[in-house]
Subunit: 709 residues, 2 copies
């Protein structure tokens, strides 16, 4: 990968196509750059002007008197390839192409030009953003080569001067949306170090940027606006790297609806993958999906301030002077998955010393305005944070007038030093800018949306837990090479569809137990086999033509006598096709929870393991979860926990717990099978898998594998 | 009910306990009132001051030289009853008690004082808010008897001067939360006519206020912050009245979690009812629940502007110059239940005339910044609104700079006159106040949150549909008086628990068909009865002691022979208790979709009908919906539509549609049964009810009634 440092941290920048006209994009970019105290040098490249905004122009890149690090191209599309090549010749190390009119247009021309751009970038080892990008901003260096009005000169500096850590980076394909996050977040006094918009991503994509910034180490949380991912494996790799580094990614993935996908496709000339697969990857690696700009910014805000003191659990104390506000926040916390425990007697006694009779310290702690005038919101939060049974504090206040917090400014600074639990402040009125600043200077975020505040706390707790588990996870053992090669050879040799009798031995090579079962090719065979098994048997026709045995009449269950087996054999064989291989005789499995497992090939991410509950709701409201493979046991637990039906396995209906251990074991083994052979598997269905009571294992009752075509 | 007009529209107001000190609440209220151009007279009542803010003080209410309409009491709690009585004596018609320290305090004293207040109010026929209220604001009359800083004198008038309709009223028990809605909504240029906070509601509650304002007719949408409802039937009545009047109610109900309920209970001294029952009522009458302040205000904003041209359906066109923004909005619309159809060829051709090659008119319509400079956002929306296949338009734009909309100000005014479909504008950057004002003056809302904008459109479409149905609903026929009285007598005479054999005849009196079934008291009886039924039978022990027959061994199924019936009879009777009445012999029902119906007594709302799907998910994720009774058929359809499993009845698994007609018929009949006899029913369970294929009816396979104790 070319060096992104030259792109983001250039000393010398050339703007090719620069103009003095403030009303056209080529002039706006000069205006925007000029509005900030960038310490490097900016050369406008223009044939029609001698100087722009006091900077001398040069007619072409090779005329610039010093070596240029970054070239910004804002010239008609047809001139872009040659100009980029000229930059390469002149030793330019990075380029950003703002021009549109490439692959997002109908026809082949634009895509071909992007291929050309890619080739040129490779030839000269240049780091290139775009085309069709809106530019980027490096707030740390006051460099804003973009025409986005969001970072045009404003009354506010690009970064809150007092924020030395908790930096947030925005990376987006869409320029408008990328800078919108900054626009929403800056008034919250959030320190955005980079806003990068990558446009059509002919060369560098958003994941390349994240990957680089993880190495660079200046970013503490990422906001991504994702339209598509070109290389699925890169998302997994970068997401895992970010998780291990403790740098959360908060994002939205557009294209989840057909109409959204239509928009993404026409807009950045690419097709979106399966949203379910994306979700599987997000959940596996702790990537947080946000529903709207404000929510995403608010979640990032929580991590920006409290990334180094995340809540160790989900128990929250709510401090307020508004009974109504505290009650609403309690509901919102619970619906976000948090707990609001009744406070312990010791902490209550401490707080009660300040409360009038109509206040309460039970939690929500409704201290009343009267008590808060004495304790301050900081003092109240401090007392609550002292409780051993709380992992984090949410303070609900009205911050529309700065006076409330001004009088406890010093105490809030002390509070941040003393308490190592996260304390989120939330204003139920519109927060005054000074209120936000006072809290920010102390080290606390101020939310203006109660639901976002509750969710941010919950996401921090979940992230902490997931990351601890990921850091503690053992290295996944590789499969036995002999078994792996043997299965690979068998799979390669098999036909397009593998019936149950062919799939089971492959699974057995990965330690997945099969039932008592064997293929019969005559009624006599079947009767003889059935005798050797314990209990009644099932007969199942085995033919690659018959994907739905029940509908075809190729299935008979619960056969307890020789006669029944013999009759059933003939009935089942009546469904036979030319390709029929025989009838699988299988001991009937005992009862159990009906689950489904499978492997599906996703166009973007390759093999994904699927786990879910069967039953009547599969069609209308499937309870399934996907994940990339392989999985360690901890990841298998997390996968299972994502199912709404999970509590059923604990025996909520009074029938006792199911054999969850055996199920997890199956998930882990199947994930290795998928990792080793996913390239050859279009679809593998184990449906149903019966999960028996604890200690009694699982039964894989059916299996079908369709190879990738 | 006393006349609320005297409270909200007084000509003469006395503030009892007024003070000139701006730092205490008794002084703040004078400051706040003084900040607005109220045309009536305000008399401070004070013994320690001669004048306050230039107004002459009087020592007591009877000294005031003219008749007072409204008295504001902000004096210590113990003086409230006597002072209120003095007001009554002086002919004061209304009072607002801001003082706290009543039923929200521990002990009996506060509640007793509230009883006293209630008695005094009744004696003098006074309309009374409070105690423990934060006051109200009547923006139409510039009257703000409240100490809320939200309506303190600001640079902005209380109402946007150009808004002549679409008025929004906030009614809340909680003062802080009530005024928070105004605080969030006023910058959006929303016309709040009243903000009313009712506190402990010793006399008047929020529903009294809504009821009065529906009659008054000055309000077009209501925002409620609801902690509890004291009289369930009032909620149903007022909600239905609002729906018929086309005045939407948008609210949050706190106390949905245990912790939230704890807060509500300690805060306003009352217990919250069952949240599921609340939801049933909200959904029945089109009450819209919002998740946070901003969302509630945004939904109200949509109705404020477009209440008279609601979308006739769910098909939305998205206009934008940001491909990313349009795509995200499309996803959000779809997830809110809207449709984003591909645009028709005619409309596309009209739009395409303006688009560059890299734009698209498919929908989302990504016109690009280049085309929007020509058409304007208004012009683009006009073209899209011309399409027959769209019910509403959402325009996604960046409105952080007012310039964008300023240049099309006149055209936007024209647009609002020409187009009768709702057009919602949404800024993906933080909207500039002038952008909001320009759109507001034309007649359009501007959203700053894309998810809220999508949801607001969806809620308008749903509300329109529900209201049309409610207006068209036939009057529900009353039950046959003879049957009703007979069933009532039988119910009254029965024991605490009615077994299936006792319940079924009661249901039959309401036209609910029973299976072939009869009670047997000997094995011979059972065998004889079974012979007269078609097909195999089930035996079920009938005892008020045995609520769970399966667990008790009191159930035998699919008995096809005399011998089987005889054996089963003895087995089943082995579970008999002293109270056993015999064994119900019942023809086995054919297969069907397993559903559950029931009647449950809710502490707040009385009898609620419950409809849901059975199956494994009932325990972990119940798919059930509640509703008040009785129901017409349209309401039964709406109830069924609330179930996630609803599509199962259409035969999504390929088995053909179920007998939905018969199910709806059962729901309607059972709702009449509940309406007539709910007062005697603690719980009635029909579980399961089997819904057979279309034309083949339903089977009520089990029934149990527990009377209210």
């Amino acid at each position: 990968m070319p060096d992104l440092s030259a792109l983001l941290w250039p000393n010398v920048v050339a703007v090719i196509g620069a103009s003095p006209e403030p009303d056209i994009l080529r002039g706006r970019i000069m205006q925007v750059m000029n509005g900030h105290a960038y310490k490097g040098t900016v050369y406008p490249i223009s044939r029609s002007h001698d100087e722009i905004l006091g900077r001398r122009c040069y007619a072409s890149i090779d005329k610039v008197p010093e070596k240029v690090d970054l070239a910004i191209l804002i010239i008609p599309a047809q001139f872009v390839p040659a100009t980029l090549a000229a930059c390469g010749e002149a030793g330019v190390r990075a380029a950003q192409i703002l021009t549109s009119g490439f692959a997002e247009e109908p026809g082949e021309g634009g895509a071909a030009m992007e291929d050309e751009i890619r080739a040129i970038a490779k030839r000269y080892d240049m780091a290139v953003f775009g085309p069709n990008s809106e530019g980027f901003a490096n707030a740390l260096n006051a460099l804003c080569p973009t025409f986005s009005p969001a970072v045009d000169k404003t009354e506010r500096p690009l970064l809150p001067p007092w924020r030395q850590n908790g930096h947030i980076t925005v990376v987006a394909q869409s320029g408008g949306m990328g800078f919108a996050f900054y626009d929403h977040g800056r008034p919250k006094e959030l320190p955005f170090n980079y806003i990068v918009t990558t446009g059509n991503e002919a060369c560098l994509g958003i994941l390349d940027v994240v990957d680089h910034l993880l190495d660079e180490g200046k970013t503490d949380a990422f906001i991504l606006f994702m339209e598509d991912v070109k290389r699925g494996e890169q998302l997994c790799r970068v997401a895992e790297k970010a998780l291990k580094a403790g740098k959360p990614i908060i994002l939205t993935k557009i294209g989840t609806s057909d109409a959204g996908a239509r928009a993404a496709a026409s807009h950045t000339a690419s097709l979106a993958g399966s949203y379910q697969a994306y979700q599987g990857i997000f959940q596996r690696y702790g990537i947080i999906e946000g529903g709207n700009t404000e929510e995403i910014v608010d979640i990032a805000a929580a991590f920006s301030y409290h990334g180094r003191n995340l809540p160790k659990g989900k128990r929250v104390g709510i401090c307020t002077a508004s009974g109504g506000g505290g009650g609403w926040m309690a509901d919102l916390c619970v619906s976000a998955g948090l707990e609001i425990p009744e406070l312990d007697a010791k902490t209550r006694a401490t707080i009660d010393a300040y409360l009038p009779a109509y206040g309460t310290s039970q939690n929500p702690i409704d201290a009343t305005a009267q008590a808060v005038r004495v304790t301050g919101y900081g003092g109240l939060a401090r007392m609550a944070a002292g409780s051993d049974i709380l992992d984090g504090i949410i303070t609900v206040a009205s911050c529309r007038h700065p006076g409330v917090l001004q009088r406890e400014r010093e105490d809030l600074i002390e509070l941040a030093k003393e308490v190592d639990k996260p304390i989120l402040f939330c204003s139920y009125t519109q927060p005054h800018q000074d209120s936000t600043a006072i809290l920010s200077q102390a080290g606390f975020p101020l939310f203006g949306n109660m639901a976002n505040c509750a969710r941010a706390m919950a996401e921090m707790a979940d992230y902490h837990q997931l990351r601890q588990r990921a850091l503690a996870a053992p290295r996944i053992e590789s499969s036995d090479a002999g078994s792996r090669d043997k299965v690979a050879a068998q799979l390669a040799a098999a036909g397009a569809v593998l019936c149950e009798y062919e799939v089971k031995p492959l699974l057995a090579a990965y330690g997945i137990a099969t039932a008592e079962e064997a293929l019969a090719t005559s009624a006599n065979d079947a009767v003889a086999l059935a005798k050797t098994f314990s209990g009644p048997v099932a007969l199942k026709i085995q033919s690659p033509d018959i994907l739905h045995k029940t509908e075809a009449g190729g299935l008979a269950l619960s056969l307890a006598t020789d006669a029944a087996v013999r009759t059933a054999y003939d009935q089942v064989m009546a469904a036979a096709t030319a390709q029929t291989r025989g009838v699988l005789v299988q001991a009937m499995a005992p009862k159990g929870h009906e689950m489904i497992l499978g492997i599906n090939h996703d166009a973007t991410f390759g093999p994904m393991l699927m786990l879910g509950f069967g039953g009547i709701y599969v069609e209308v409201n499937p309870d399934v979860a996907l994940t990339p493979v392989p999985l360690d046991r901890g990841a298998a637990v997390a996968l299972l926990d994502r199912l709404a039906g999970r509590p059923l396995l604990d025996g909520v209906r009074g029938e006792g717990p199911a054999d969850i251990d055996a199920l997890l074991d199956l998930v882990v083994k199947l994930s290795r099978f998928a990792a080793d052979h996913g390239a050859m598997i279009g679809e593998l269905d184990l449906n149903p898998v019966l999960v028996h009571p604890a200690g009694q294992g699982i039964s894989v009752v059916d299996a079908l594998l369709v190879k990738r075509s």
